[in-house]
């Protein structure tokens, strides 16, 4: 407890860094994955290829990917951007399938009705399909967000500062308290972020209450 109070500033700073490294990939992943998922769902054959690529991408372990990426991007080894890119890739890989499933469960007759009332394809996608796909998308975002918060800590192994730094530092100093506080903060951050998504869902998708969440 004393250690926590003495280092509150630093823990706060690491938490903010950690939050950025988590939120950015989830947000970017969402923005990239939703259009791809929407597209994949309407083009069965090519869509299956895209979804398959997504799953393969997800099997690539994170630490090796963090090591390979600077060589591919030409970024510096310690650049936090590597962490953001890797975690965005995972978010896309996971969310593309969720997005395809989310759009697939929009009832066909609703889509036809939107067409019949003169919606253009873009209008229909944004005003009719996206809101109806919302609840399933939200469930996917929640899963991705929890796993991303937890995965960011791996970045500490290559020297990118975040709450995982408390693990590596605590381990080197043989100081259990630091690791326990790090673990607790990561779990709390994951729960807090999850609560934000749920709240955002209630505000943006008021019709979804009671709907069964997939994923």
């Amino acid at each position: 407890m004393t250690w926590f109070l003495e280092n509150a500033d630093r823990i706060g700073d690491l938490t903010v860094r950690h939050l950025w490294l988590s939120v950015l990939p989830v947000a970017l992943g969402f923005l990239i994955a939703v259009p791809i998922g929407w597209w994949a769902q309407r083009h069965a054959r090519l869509g299956a290829v895209v979804l398959g690529t997504g799953s393969i991408l997800y099997t690539v372990p994170s630490l090796p990917l963090l090591v390979i990426l600077p060589g591919v991007l030409g970024t510096s080894f310690l650049d936090p951007a590597n962490v953001v890119v890797v975690l965005t890739l995972y978010a896309v890989a996971l969310l593309v399938r969720t997005a395809a499933d989310a759009f697939a469960q929009v009832p066909r007759d609703v889509v036809d009705a939107a067409d019949a009332t003169g919606h253009s394809a873009v209008q229909r996608a944004l005003r009719v399909e996206l809101p109806l796909a919302g609840p399933v998308l939200l469930a996917g975002v929640r899963v991705v967000s929890v796993s991303t918060v937890s995965l960011v800590t791996i970045g500490a192994l290559i020297g990118v500062a975040n709450l995982g730094s408390l693990f590596t530092e605590g381990y080197q100093r043989g100081f259990t308290t630091e690791i326990v506080i790090g673990l607790g903060t990561v779990v709390l951050l994951a729960l807090a972020l999850d609560a934000v998504w749920v709240l955002l869902g209630r505000l943006l998708l008021p019709w979804a209450r009671g709907a069964r969440a997939g994923g």
Binding site: S55, I56, T59, V60, P61, S62, L63, P64, L65, V67, I68, P70, G71, G74, F77, V146, S147, V149, S150, L151, T153, I154, A156, L157, I158, G164, L166, F167, T168, G170, Y171, G174, F175, T176, I179, V180, G182, L183, V186, V187, A190, L191
Partner: protein, 217 residues
């Protein structure tokens, strides 16, 4: 920076890196050994529990909450913590990796049994099957694709996270990564990374085939 790939290729084709206690085959063997041990222990815990939850429908809410909570626990933190508590050895990493492998196995088992058509289960009961026979002869075979799906994600997560275990002094393929990072030998790090990636993709492919044949059977 792109010549790092050429250097990594040189590292991989260098015969001296393929023999001895820190050669690729030995490290690969260690890596698969830890992973297999972990998955076996996790399955021994998670499968009976998951099948029971799926069969009886009891404790379902708890199982969902538990799998979610376990997923938010960062393995690196768990790993370092258990080592400080129990000291270096095989137990800490295996314990930390078991925590990682339990959620997908548990979810696959209970979701698999739950997904079996209740009419099929009722028909089996009507034929005079005991509960045990219903579970082993009807529910488990029908749930097999989802149970295998749970194994697939558990194995992949364990194999990819076992690299992190090298950080606490364990062997396995992670050695090339962690040692390479420590002494800035990036070609070695990259070569090790590529071996792990190929291993993960190969295992995933094997599971894809197994799942397809289980679904057809």
């Amino acid at each position: 920076m792109s010549n790092v790939f050429a250097e990594a290729a040189d590292w991989l084709t260098d015969g001296t890196h393929w023999q001895g206690a820190d050669g690729v085959p030995a490290r690969l063997g260690e890596h698969l050994g830890y992973s297999a041990l972990t998955v076996v222990i996790a399955a021994a815990v998670a499968l009976p529990l998951g099948l029971w939850i799926g069969h009886t429908g009891r404790l379902r809410g708890l199982a969902i909450g538990l799998t979610g909570a376990l997923r938010s626990l960062p393995t690196l933190g768990l790993l370092t913590l258990v080592v400080l508590w129990m000291g270096i050895g095989l137990t800490p990493p295996v314990l930390a990796l078991v925590v990682l492998a339990v959620p997908p196995l548990l979810a696959g088992a209970y979701a698999g049994v739950e997904s079996v058509d209740p009419r099929t289960v009722d028909a089996a009961r009507g034929l005079g099957f005991t509960e045990w026979q219903v579970l082993t002869r009807v529910e488990v075979p029908l749930a097999l694709p989802l149970i295998l799906g749970g194994f697939r994600s558990a194995v992949l997560q364990v194999v990819s996270t076992a690299t992190v275990a090298a950080y606490i002094g364990l062997g396995g393929l992670g050695r090339y990564l962690i040692d390479g990072i420590a002494v800035r030998d990036y070609p070695q790090t990259l070569a090790g990374s590529l071996v792990v990636v190929v291993l993960a993709l190969a295992l995933d492919g094997a599971f894809a085939v197994a799942q397809r044949s289980a679904a057809r059977a």
